[in-house]
Amino acid sequence: MNSISIVDILIVLAKAIFVMAATLKLAALNTWIERKASALIQNRIGANRASILGFDLAGIFNTLVADPVKALFKEDFVPRGVSQFMHSLAPFMGVFPILISLAVVPFGPPIILESRTVTLQLVNLNVGILYVFAMGSLAVYGTVLAGWVSKNKFSLFGSLRASAQMISYEITFGLSIIGLIAIYGTLDLNEIVNLQSGLVYGFLPNWGIFAFFPLNIIAFVIFFVSAMAETKRAPFDLPESESELVAGYFTEYSGMKFLLFWLGEFAEIVVAATLVVVLFFGGWQLPYLDLATIQPDLANTALSRFFNINFGVLDPYIGPIIAMHVFAVKVLLFCILQVIIRWTLPRFRYDQLINLCWKIMLPIALVNVVVTCYFVATSGGN
């Protein structure tokens, strides 16, 4: 394969659009989950006002149609004496790195056709997980810039809190997966997912969380807590604690710009859930069924014989399609878990938040790295 044909370029474009759309759709769906789940948790009826022809579809019109339309028609307020360009740039700088950070995540086994192998991953970087972290570290600029250009003390305090929190928790975020990387010996997310197939002890799925049994559960807890802190939501929502700081770094934002910050927050939830699934819960792997080598014979099924249609052409797609659904379900479960935690726990105090990171989680993460590396070295791993 020496030249790049137009089909290859179309495949890449399709994958790029798919990954972007999936992130955005999941983020949008999350807003609905958030409002409905909060209503259920607080024992009240959630968003149910907007309806089309009497159907409100459990409030989905409220969150996915009425709210964005309302935001679109709101006044785009810019404080006086503030650079219009910088004020508009901040939400985009906050959202853009998060939306492209899922480019390296594999969402299914490769589809093998006669002429080409299509990997279900947008870019196969050999530094996969580092790329996600790099994009995560860029997301700080959005909040910092938003607080700065608002010319508002509350905004500046919010963005200072946000950046201190994000930079602190990035350390535990990164340290918690070093053990996992030592176990798998690679940074490539595709390889990490491939290595999580099969079973351990005969019944447990061979997922990252069960590797070196109790150690990686600690790593998972630290990773998940850090990921939640990175999303800046309760119990870590100090940057926007409305009882002290009005709304934190987006106090001076309204309309679609505010909605962009909101979207970024929900996209961060999706990214956090995806990372947890890929690193600790086997990505698209389904336990007890190997989706990468599944060999269905749809041409000989009862359905195929009944309709007298040859479903055999679908054979190469069955494994990847099931895998993508498995992946989506896992990601959604972790999104819902984050929403439940957000509406269950009260907010930390700021000193508690920083103490939790530097005095509790960082030492545990460091010890975990040393112990895991010791076990990897003695077990003659990589």
Binding site: L125, A134, V144, W148, L156
Partner: protein
Amino acid sequence: MNTESLSILNIFMFILGGLSLVSGLGVVLSRKSLNSALCLVATMFLIAGQFALMRADFIATLQVMLYAGAIMILFVFVIMLLGVEKDAEKLSFSVPSYFSISFVFLFFGILFFGFRDGIITSAKSIVEGSYLDQLESTTEPINNFVTGTSSNPVLVPDLVVTPKSIGNSILVDQVVSFQAIGILLLASIVGAAFLAQTKKAPLLPGRGLKAMKEKHGSSTN
């Protein structure tokens, strides 16, 4: 791919190179220090894109993570919290500035004439696209990178930089110089901490808490 037509990689290389030049000029020319800092972030990001095009994923990612993500955020913090904006003056030329400008030109002149051959060959190879073509023709994964399709993803030739090869070269082959750089950095951190340390002002008579209380009490009475 032959050199007659520009390959996709070359086109992207030119786009990224041009944009990074523009944002680099923005760093120097913009009046507000925050704008300069943000332009520098953009420059780092675009240079990382060029590294990624040359299949140096690891260096590209580190470029974003360390320079654009970590170091520049400290720059932005310093600008925001310490208010460098107050010290920003209008661009003025004086005798020392002429001296420093000529020194800069001298420095880059020496650099250019010292590495003339190397610069000309590398510029030629970039313009003619021979480096990227070499990369493209000798490596299968470069196609894998562009199209996401590959028949043999295991094949990784020497031109492609992997985290493993970098780890081997830093922590095995060059371990002494690596540790030496580490000691150098440690020394500079200790030095910076020493320089930044401010001596506490001695408690002179009449400036202590007691004196202040007495003064305060006397003024109210």
